[in-house]
């Protein structure tokens, strides 16, 4: 028997040496990183203030009739996939919770960092609830509850205001260390975050003015007591480069979404007011005219017969407009006009209105002389009754959101201007809202399929998941 021992032993060795104790190693992907520095996590966090330049962007801009997506069924509100756009922002919560945990119980500048995380948390959650109404909040995003229950929009707002107040208080007392390049919005200028948070407070205060005037005015008062965004340098923009190239999401969107066109409404609005922004934002069509595409229209003509977005209005490195000086001014104008958180003051309201218009025009590169001419015209000063004044503020604000995201749609719903009329069935797609502008997005299919019990409750509370059901703050 001895003679085969060596062969046998040698060949068994082949089997034996194969067995390893590398099971742990095999379970770790090569591109996993153990210790990602905190500042890099914050880099992504600040990036998460972005707009969703995909279907979500279409929805907000289509419904508020700044843009028109010519080729798609979105125009008759039938395309269910569009409802996912904002819902998918829930994917930002895992980083938020990760950072809240990492900064929990810390003092000093780490506490300030935690405030930044909380600002992002509130910003993200409100951008979701604004679109749908009641949505998961307390049980959402932590992976512990696979089928999170829904919270009312009111409770999300109430809790968000509490968190934001705390964050503002922290930032007032704590000087955070600069994140430098890892702060994608303010490039490391930490002092601007308080202004950002505070302006966000004013935005929220006005958002709820019709449903909780007391809280609204209390919040506005707090906001006015602290510095707000006061110049273009303090505007929050995010150069959110995409993988397609060194271009911002919004630039990329205009370039690649072939059938996206400026809406007839926005073109006509600028044309009729001799607005100098027209030639900057919009091109002429083949017939050398400014012609916007009518939203939801039955017509089918080549897109070359319509105006397109002018390259002068956006640059490859133009960032997402998160919270701009122009918006801050219009918020203040509205607060002064109605005396929310401040004493009503028509002069201040008018000044802030003019500042908002100027801010937007300057940002777009309109010549100073043209700005002065415009401000000397009929839209240069608030006029008429309160209703007309708020209409003027709302319409200018709407136009200022031309490159913005969902805020245009939020404010059209809240303020009721510009008026989006019911569509004419003979010439337009009516869709399932029978021609009315949707007041919200529908809960997405993934909720129906993977969170059905809570979904059914939510559906019952929204007139069967109707486009026309108004969210809590929408009293218009």
């Amino acid at each position: 028997m001895n003679k085969y021992i060596k062969y046998l032993a040698a060949s068994f060795l082949i089997v034996a040496i194969g067995c390893t104790d590398k099971f742990e190693e095999y379970n770790t992907p090569i591109n996993a990183v153990d210790d990602i520095p905190l500042e890099l996590r914050f880099n992504t966090l600040t990036q998460n203030f972005n707009h969703a330049y995909t279907t979500a962007f279409i929805v907000a801009q289509e419904y508020s009739q700044l843009k028109c997506y010519e080729a798609s069924t979105v125009k008759d509100y039938e395309f269910a996939g569009y409802n996912d756009g904002y819902w998918n922002r829930y994917d930002k919560l895992s980083l938020i919770f990760d950072l809240l945990e990492r900064t929990e119980g810390e003092e000093g500048y780490m506490k300030g960092y935690q405030a930044l995380v909380n600002i992002n948390y509130v910003y993200t959650m409100l951008s979701i609830t604004d679109m749908y109404g009641d949505v998961p909040y307390t049980e959402a995003g932590n992976g512990e509850e696979w089928r999170p229950a829904y919270d009312t929009q009111e409770s999300i707002y109430t809790d968000g205001i509490r968190i934001l107040d705390e964050a503002c208080a922290t930032l007032e007392n704590v000087t955070i260390e600069s994140l430098g390049e890892n702060d994608r919005i303010y490039g490391g200028d930490a002092s601007k975050w308080l202004k950002f948070a505070n302006t966000l407070r004013l935005r929220i205060a006005l958002r709820i003015k019709n449903v909780n005037p007391t809280l609204s005015s209390e919040l506005a008062q707090k906001a006015f007591s602290k510095p707000l965004i006061e110049n273009e340098d303090e505007s929050a923009t995010l150069p959110n480069f995409d993988i397609e190239g060194a271009r911002s999401g919004v630039w990329n969107y205009y370039e690649t979404a072939g059938s996206l066109l400026p809406s007839e409404r926005v073109v006509e609005f600028m044309k009729s007011n001799n607005d100098p922004r027209l030639s900057i934002l919009i091109t002429k069509n083949v017939d050398d005219e400014y012609l916007g595409y009518p939203n939801g229209s039955n017509i089918t003509r080549p897109t070359t017969e319509y105006s397109d977005f002018a390259a002068t209005g956006y640059a490859p490195d133009m960032g997402d407009q998160i919270l701009m000086y122009a918006e801050a001014s219009f918020l203040k104008a509205e607060a002064y006009l109605f005396g929310i958180g401040v004493t009503a003051n028509e002069t201040s309201a008018n000044e802030e209105y003019r500042a908002g218009v100027r801010a937007n025009m300057e940002m777009l590169g309109v010549e100073n002389a043209d700005i002065d001419t415009f401000l000397a015209g009929s839209l240069g000063n608030l006029s008429g009754d309160q209703e007309n004044k708020i209409k003027m503020i709302a319409e200018q604000k709407w136009l200022a959101f031309f490159h913005g995201g969902n805020e245009a749609y939020n404010e059209v719903r809240r303020l009721g201007y510009p008026v989006i009329e019911k569509r004419d069935g003979a010439t337009h797609e009516l869709g399932e809202t029978n021609g009315e502008m949707p007041r919200r997005l529908k809960y997405p299919i993934q909720e129906r399929d993977y969170n059905s019990t809570h979904y059914q409750t939510a559906v019952a509370a929204t007139d069967n998941n109707s486009f026309l059901h108004k969210v809590w703050w929408d009293k218009n």
Partner: protein, 1065 residues
Amino acid sequence: MKKIFLTMICMCMVLLNYAQSKEVTGIVTDQATGETIPGVNVVVKGTTNGTVTDFNGKYSIEVSQSNATLLFSFVGYAPQEINYTGQSTIDVVLAVDALKVNEVVVTALGIKREKKSLGYSVSEVKGDDVARSGDGNVLNALSGKAAGVVVNTTAGSSMGSSNIVLRGYNTLRGGEALIVVDGIPYSNRSTLDGGYDYGSGISDLNMDDVESVSILKGANAAALYGSLAMNGVVIITTKSGKKNHSSVSVSSTYTMSEVGFMPELQNTYGEGYYKNIGHLDAGDDGILETRYGSTKSWGPKMEGQDVRISWLRDKPVLPYSKQEDNVKDFFRKGHTFKNSVNITNGNDKRSWSLSLMSENMKDIIRTSEMDKYNMGLRVKRDVNSWFDIDGKINFTYKSAYNRPENTDKRGGFMGLMVAPRSFRNDLMSPAIYTPNGKSYSGETFQDGAPIQWDDEIGSWGAGNPYWDLYVNYNKDRQTRVNGFTKLNFKLAKGLSAFTRLGVDYSNLEARKFEEINSGAYREKGGLSSKSNNHLDINADFLFTYDKDMGDFHLTANAGGNHSYSRSHYLWATGNEAVLPGADYMGNYKSRDGGDDTQEREKNSLYGSFQLAYRNYLFLDVTGRNDWTSTLSDDNNSFFYPSASIGFVVTDAFDIKSSVLDYAKVRLSASEVGNDFDIYAIKQYITMSADIVGRPIVNMPKKLSNLNLKPEMNRSLEFGLDLRFLKNRIGLDLAVYQNNIKDQILNTPLTISSGYNETPINAGEIENKGVELSLNVKPIRTKDLLWDMTFNYSKNEMKVVSLNDGLEEIEMRKPRNARIIAKVGEKYGQIVGRTFARNEDGLIMLNDKNFPIVPEDLSVVGNIQPDFTASIQNTLRYKNLTLGFLITSSFGNDVVTYKRLEMNYNGTSKESVAGREGWMAAKDAGEASAYGYSSSYGGLDYLVGRSIREDGSLNTASNPTYINPARFWKSQRSSRNAEYAVEDGSYVKMKEISLNYRLPKSFLAKLPFESLSVGFVARNPWIIHKKTDFFDPEAFQSNTQFGSYGVENAAWPNRRTYSFNVSFKF
């Protein structure tokens, strides 16, 4: 098969031969086939004087007695005695033994066993039957040839993947059978990239090398192979050289292929806008015009009238005439040439076998082609009396160009299916537009971009498939090297051992180029390049001990296996081309890339124990323990046993009946454990960078589960094997039940939970089924044989329970429907929105006379068939053999995209219904041009089957006309699942073959040992089907579990005709 026995017999037989007598010679042939039989024992009865026939069936024996009896015997044949009275030549014809069933089959770990000793079900398919099928893929050739076997192929072509499923899918993540070639697991991984199917590993196997295929269906049969074999095993044995024999065989096959099935298209109405049915508006000069965005077939009747295509650059005025062949003309006849050579040589110490194969295929889709080359060498050598070596190496190289894209995306078949029925092919293909000298040149839009005629298909847009054919391309090269060395030891009497090392390495390089202007989502062009390497190592050893103990016979095996696999994946993409036509990475303004490596390991120890009593009662017990790298330390070791009993009733009770030849019952029970994909137990944060180098932290979207346990398949099988009337009727019946407990799968989560999915032990799945295989030989004479096998199988997969309070799990979500696994129900329920119906079953219409499709979901079908059946017939007259195979499936439902899109686009026959009525109403001014608001319009679909809001019945005499285009559009966009689901039942003539083997007498003058010519038609005829939109046997865009039950606008199946010449010398 029988020729294998010779090797065995030669090795184990010692025959003595006494001289000084008279020599008798002769040839032994098979009664049924007329072929010679090698290895037949020839013994002078009552003596030890004997010999065996050689490879040509010849023998010679010295007989000393003047009066003797010669006994001719061979496994599987009835022995024959011949009285010797001094003849010098005795030729013998042996008949297949009607009474003894001594078939030997290859079982787990390559162990050959008598079929009668097995306690579980095994089906055998012979190499010849495989080779004769006319398909270049071993698995495809198995379709319909055994009960309980489902071969999944793609609608693509022979370039695509295929896999085999035994007794239905066992788990909620699929479950194809393990393929084992010469004892080593053989990877059949398929690689997909979007709609491109790069084929699966089995196509690397040279068909002509296959000697036999054993199909071990149940988990019982496979317990020794472990987890991989949970879904059964297909054991393929390839040809090897034989001792003291050499041969050269050559086989050449030419195959012609053509479109096997075409959806039903309408040829009445041409291009026109769906909001203006039946009409075209006139331009300023009075000539009718088709307009931008009108590229659907809702126009007027095609009567050759002049129509201007106003959206084209030159605005040509063309006759508006039906283009019945515009889809057909897209295709060509395909041609495949395949040649293979096998050379074997052996002396008494060693043997070798060398195989060479080349296959050159041009597909029915113009510009699609594939070349395949295979080389294999098998060497066996006896080193000494206790040690021999067996080794094999195989090399395969494949290169493919323009694999068809099997989705509804641009460039796919859908682009043709929705092209307007008045569209001339030359609008799409001939030379008008030449982007920088590229060969394509179809018509262009006014702005110079090539035409893509629909951007509302799916989320991308179907377009001009000629563009993908001639301008864009995809190409890939695959190389695979695999082989093994096996060392066999005879250690002592009854004790032997082997060790074996198998290595399987493959590489796929794929490249995909999209030119500038390739539709809305690739306007700026793109290039992708990837390389995928995969390595499998299998090392194993086995000790075998064999002992006779009086009435008992004991066999024990003990062994171990180490398996390791590693994949490495490297990719790069380029976006936005600088120059058109420059298909290299440097030409792209932005480039992106990445890599990934995945490794896993499994180690196992196992043993088996077989006890036979008097050769009629057989008991088998096996046990195996696995250690896997993919589960946590607490759960990564798991043990599973099996036991089976085989009992030959006729032998045990010595039943000698003229009716019943043989009866055996089998019973088995087993467990097989299984692990899961890698990265399920831990989650990781990863980093990436954007284009300007800024960091991005990627939080995990998959929630890990450290507590995952192995899933366990418990199965029970009862079987019955009966032979009647001298083996003229054979019946094999199997009844089984498999329960998978703790089924592992990824369950989708809503993103509001923070994650997209999580792996869970989801619950219990049950498969129950019956398999019946009936073999009848109505005619069995010397010249004429008729052999008929009927296979029937019924399998039902049911969801017994789900954990974590889940009621249902979504398996996949094709458009308009969801396919789910719901507790207490059959797996694969298709649910979705349906027409609202009143209590009489009538479709309820709304105030606009459109059917109401409420939001609620209900069950509209199931993807599992009720049963499948096949009939295989072989008729042999002398040297001429005719075979045909009929396969069928009943009761399975399919979610179809083609119906949705073709009806919406007005190109299908079905979309014609109701147009006339609607147009008449509209012309009479009784209908509004656009709205839902008219009470007229029309659709046969609803007539007689629907009820209006006011309660009146929608009948032919009092029809409600609605806009048919609106109808189809609304059903598509309302995601009406009822309308998207069709019955996938079919009966199909799968294969007809004719083979002629030249008679020996004729060959005697030629240098050939054998020569045969054959003809095979595959997919010649769909005898019965329910759908107009796809070939119900081959509609999947790939073979992965996720595409099961979904027709995703795949290309038509091929019909092929093959001519083969084979000879051996």
